[in-house]
């Protein structure tokens, strides 16, 4: 059981590294990736507000918990 888990983890790791190794996007082909609509978070002001509202109404850990902080939201 433990061995198979180890094997699976190894497989996933190898796949990840393999996948990243296979990707070839030359610098001059990155015009679309550099557009603002392709940002991971294109509207940070919105996502900050949304995240605060969701975390005051839902029990999941906050999206923004990586940055910590943020008071109670006790309402």
């Amino acid at each position: 059981m433990r061995k198979s888990l180890y094997a699976k983890t190894k497989l996933v790791l190898v796949m990840c590294i393999g996948l990243s190794g296979c990707v070839h996007v030359a610098p001059w082909e990155r015009g679309n990736l550099a557009k603002s609509q392709m940002d991971l978070d294109p509207h940070p002001l919105q996502s900050e507000r949304q995240s605060h509202n969701y975390s005051s109404r839902e029990a999941a850990p906050s999206d923004k918990s990586s940055s910590g902080g943020g008071g109670c939201g006790c309402y």
Partner: protein, 903 residues
């Protein structure tokens, strides 16, 4: 790993070289330029350019289903003001900050109980059309009937005796008066060619919850920035100091937390500490030239006091003797409210994945996200979201978004509990005799003999006239209750669907407006695999927000020589008239048609210390007798009152002689009262100020709209006139919550957020300068243009005359001295609805007066370098003399701070 990435890089370079002959010269040049250090951006992580953002957001919740009881308590709303910025300290080091202030109030769940327990009890009032339902107030202790299977029973109102099962539950709603939270965050980040590191920290302060945090994070790019690995960790320390609701507290069983509750000034304060640790790891991978994927795993460990101090659990105690008496008649349940008990530890793991695809046909991007979180409370969640970022012509971008969320209930969540024991039981000794005690000496035990005569432990008769005995009782056995319980609907199983859109418009180089809207609906039936059993908690909310986003880097690029060339000095010299002290509004004009200036102004005003009458200190006894009215003596007086104003200054020059201005404001007030010495005794049914908590209000204030007209502009001398209006966007009908079955009524005049009337705000300004000296004078006024606002009163008119002189200490720093005289009228008319009239601040005559102040200020204009174009101003206004109308709290001064930037 670094070795591997190095070899990757090496092989990529070889490929680039080998590809060269096949590419055009242009491509080769482009690629060569792009791989120069720092130019190749990391996909998905656009480096934050120097920018400043202002945002206002409003959260408004819908009404809850109270099964026929009126939603007399306004649903929760929150007004949120946010400002943030990023500034480059060096080419690779950036400083970021953000400030958020939210004020919320409204109906909030205190517990859940069976509907038959009448948790939202109606109260009535006499009106001209007879007795009508005026509202509902929370009842958290009650007796209900249960059948032998412990199902709640409803007494049929028609049949009287006939009973039917009613298994419905209902949220019991209480009301929270306005409360403000302030949060500030700071961050410092450093970028290298293929790595970044950041450190951050901040704090959040509200009356009952203080938290501080710090975080570290980093990013490493591999594979020519096609792969990015992110790591982060953070720690938050929080302290809870919750003032328990003065009205509800006597009905709440708090023994599980008795060691954490302290008494302060007549209030019970529940203290708690908690710590949260977070760690996360992520990977961003470019898949093709049009797609990338991002995955993160995060772990959160929390410990300490994780409860919500204002939530109680309804526990229905049933006497087992009555339940097991072999009859079939209903049994009585004794419903009590216990402070909720959550586990002291929580571990959460969340996995976030995001896929972003560029859609060439529309020049748009599709964002798809999925998030899974699991924790040891049993709350497992799934979140799916999708958004479509669509740039439209001429600077518009529209982003519709949809989100679905589902969570399982926490293992200890129950709408209410039933416990087969009595809430309070009579103590007996080992031989079954009832123990009697005298509460004044509880260690001495007494008994009764067969003739009901009182005897002591040795069987000797006791004279009942000398002791005051009662049966000894003890509270329920908490061991028979679950270890943890909560009826907070946020820990129940439910699903939520929300949708909305964000609209962006670039209005000029570096200046963009953003508006967002979202509607959210929470329904128990939408839970994945759920039964929908908690539909009593279903509700919805909407959020609307508007933001102004300023990108200084774009503007600086547009002015290529801003940083270190005298050309810039020449081209913009005409803008550099000396600016008046920070406390002066409408004090200068833009000169060049098409110029836009955006600024932020903060003002804070302190009043505290002695109560004053005219220009003299006054005793409590005099205030009691004269501060209110002949029929109502004063009982309370302000202890302190602080007012803050945040103002956004947007100024535009359509012509050389004309400027137009728009200035939205956001106000926060904060005050506390004290009891007057020698006040009359409380009268039942009359509002009293209870406990140690003060009052806070905050939200959008009035909005100023102005036009500035240049009258004289000769070298060294300028005169301009301002014709402005103030629009009544600030609330004037903020109410205090109902307490002790007495309405709080409208909060004091000074705590309302606006004037409530359309006001005319003219001013005339003269400014002169010669060499290092500058001077000026301004006459200004506020004329209320309506008789009364919607609460029935109007503020007094204002006239101000001020004059100042300034001296340039250096080329970029000016010091100023100013004198100001202000005349303000008393409030006219009065509230046309109920106000408690408990002290001088509730009487219109105790407002306004004549005031003399001296101001000391500094203005800085950054002439060159990285921050060129930013202007800062500070001024402290020190009261010199006051002649108050009526009875008022002494003035302690005012601070003004301004920032502005010319686009």
């Amino acid at each position: 790993m670094p070795q591997r990435s190095g070899s990757n890089l090496h092989s990529r370079n070889l490929e680039v070289q080998s590809a060269k002959p096949r590419n055009t010269t242009l491509q080769a040049l482009t690629s060569a330029a792009l791989v120069l250090p720092g130019l190749l951006i990391t996909p998905g992580h656009a480096a934050g350019t120097d920018r400043v953002n202002f945002q206002y957001s409003r959260y408004q919740e819908g009404e809850r289903n109270l099964y026929g009881a009126p939603n007399s308590l306004k649903p929760i709303s929150a007004d949120v003001l946010h400002g943030s910025g990023i500034f480059s300290l060096t080419d690779r080091t950036k400083f970021s900050f953000s400030y958020t202030q939210d004020t919320w109030s409204g109906a909030t769940q205190i517990t859940t109980s069976p509907l038959v327990a009448n948790g939202n009890r109606l109260y009535y009032e006499n009106t001209s059309s007879g007795v009508t339902v005026a509202g509902a107030s929370p009842i958290i202790n009650n007796r209900i009937l249960l059948d032998r299977n412990l199902n709640p029973l409803r007494q049929d109102p028609e049949g009287g005796q006939s009973l039917s099962q009613d298994s419905r539950s209902v949220l019991v709603m209480s009301y929270a008066s306005p409360e403000t939270r302030n949060q500030a965050n700071f961050g410092l980040s450093r970028e290298w060619n293929e790595a970044a590191f950041n450190v951050g920290g901040g704090f959040s302060r509200e009356r009952d919850y203080k938290s501080s945090y710090g975080s570290l994070g980093g990013r490493l790019d591999f594979n020519q920035k096609l792969t990015t690995v992110k790591l982060g960790a953070g720690y938050t320390d929080s302290a809870v100091g919750a003032i328990l609701d003065h009205d509800a507290s006597p009905y709440i069983t708090k023994n599980a937390f008795s060691e954490q509750i302290v008494k302060r000034g007549g209030s019970e304060v529940l203290l708690g500490d908690r710590q949260d640790w977070v760690a996360n790891m992520g990977l961003t991978q470019v898949l093709t030239k049009n797609a990338l994927v991002d995955a993160n795993i995060g772990y959160t460990h929390s410990n300490g006091y994780l409860e919500n101090p204002y939530k109680v659990m309804s526990v229905i105690f049933v006497d087992p003797a009555a339940l097991n008496n072999n009859q079939t008649t209903p049994v009585i349940g004794d419903m009590r409210a216990l402070l909720e008990q959550r586990p002291n530890i929580r571990n959460q793991v969340a996995i976030n994945t995001k896929y972003i695809q560029y859609i060439g046909a529309f020049d748009a991007a599709l964002h798809l996200g999925y998030r899974l979180s699991v924790d040891d409370w049993g709350v497992n969640t799934h979140t799916f979201d999708a958004s479509w970022v669509q740039p439209i012509a001429s600077g518009w971008t529209l982003t519709p978004r949809i989100r679905y969320y589902s969570q399982d209930a926490a293992s200890f969540y129950k709408p209410y509990l039933i416990s087969q024991q009595t809430y309070r039981k009579i103590e007996v000794d080992s031989s079954g005799r009832v123990i009697w005690i005298d509460p004044s000496n509880p260690n001495e035990q007494y008994f009764r003999d067969s003739d009901f005569n009182l005897i002591d432990q040795n069987g000797n008769p006791v004279n009942e006239d000398l002791v005051n005995v009662q049966p000894k009782t003890s509270l329920f056995d908490s061991g028979k209750l679950p270890d943890n319980f909560s009826s907070d609907y946020r820990l129940a199983g439910f699903g939520a669907l929300s949708g909305g859109a964000t609209l962006n418009k670039m209005i000029m180089k570096g200046v963009a407006l953003e508006a967002g809207f979202e509607y959210y609906t929470h329904a128990s039936s939408m839970q994945l695999g759920g039964s929908g059993g908690n539909s009593f908690a279903d509700f919805g909310y909407y959020v609307a927000n508007a933001a102004l986003k300023l990108d200084m880097e774009q503007v600086n690029f547009a002015r290529p020589n801003i940083s270190n060339s005298h050309q810039h000095e020449d081209s913009t010299k005409q803008h550099h008239h000396k600016i008046p002290p920070a406390g002066i509004m409408f004090g200068h004009m833009l000169d060049k048609p098409g110029d836009l200036m955006v600024g932020y102004r903060f003002m804070h005003n302190w009043t505290n210390g002695h109560m004053m009458h005219g220009g003299h200190k006054v005793s409590d006894q005099t205030i009691v007798q004269q501060g209110c009215s002949d029929t109502t003596p004063c009982r309370f007086t302000p202890d302190y009152m602080n007012m803050s104003m945040h103002m956004l200054d947007i100024m535009y020059a359509p012509a050389k002689w004309l400027n137009v201005m728009l200035m939205p404001t956001f106000m926060t007030m904060d005050m506390n009262l004290r009891e007057l010495a020698g006040r009359p005794a409380p009268v039942p049914g009359v509002h009293e100020h209870q406990g140690i908590a003060g009052h806070e209000t905050g939200a959008v204030g009035d909005t100023y709209i102005s036009s500035l007209v240049k009258l004289i502009n000769i070298p060294g001398h300028r005169v301009h006139m301002n014709l402005g209006l103030s629009a009544p966007t600030g609330k004037v009908d903020i109410e205090l919550r109902r307490m002790a079955q007495i309405d709080g009524g409208l909060i004091h005049f000074g705590m309302q957020l606006g004037s409530g009337t359309w006001d005319f705000t003219p001013s005339l300004t003269y400014a002169g300068e010669k060499n290092r000296w500058s001077w000026g004078t301004q006459l200004s006024g506020v004329k209320r243009m309506e008789d009364k606002n919607k609460s029935g009163y109007r503020l007094g008119d204002v006239f101000q005359a001020t004059t100042w002189g300034g001296y340039d200490l250096t080329q970029w720093l000016t010091a100023s001295v100013r004198g100001a005289y202000t005349l303000q009228g008393a409030i006219q008319r009065d509230f046309d609805r109920f106000n408690a009239h408990i002290g001088p601040m509730d009487f219109p005559a105790n407002y306004g007066g004549q005031f003399w102040d001296i101001g000391l200020g500094l203005n800085a204009r950054i002439p060159g370098g990285r921050f060129a174009g930013n202007r800062f101003g500070f001024e402290w206004l020190e009261p010199v003399r006051s002649d108050f109308n009526g009875f008022q709290l002494d003035r302690k001064g005012a601070l003004s701070a301004t920032w502005s930037y010319l686009f």
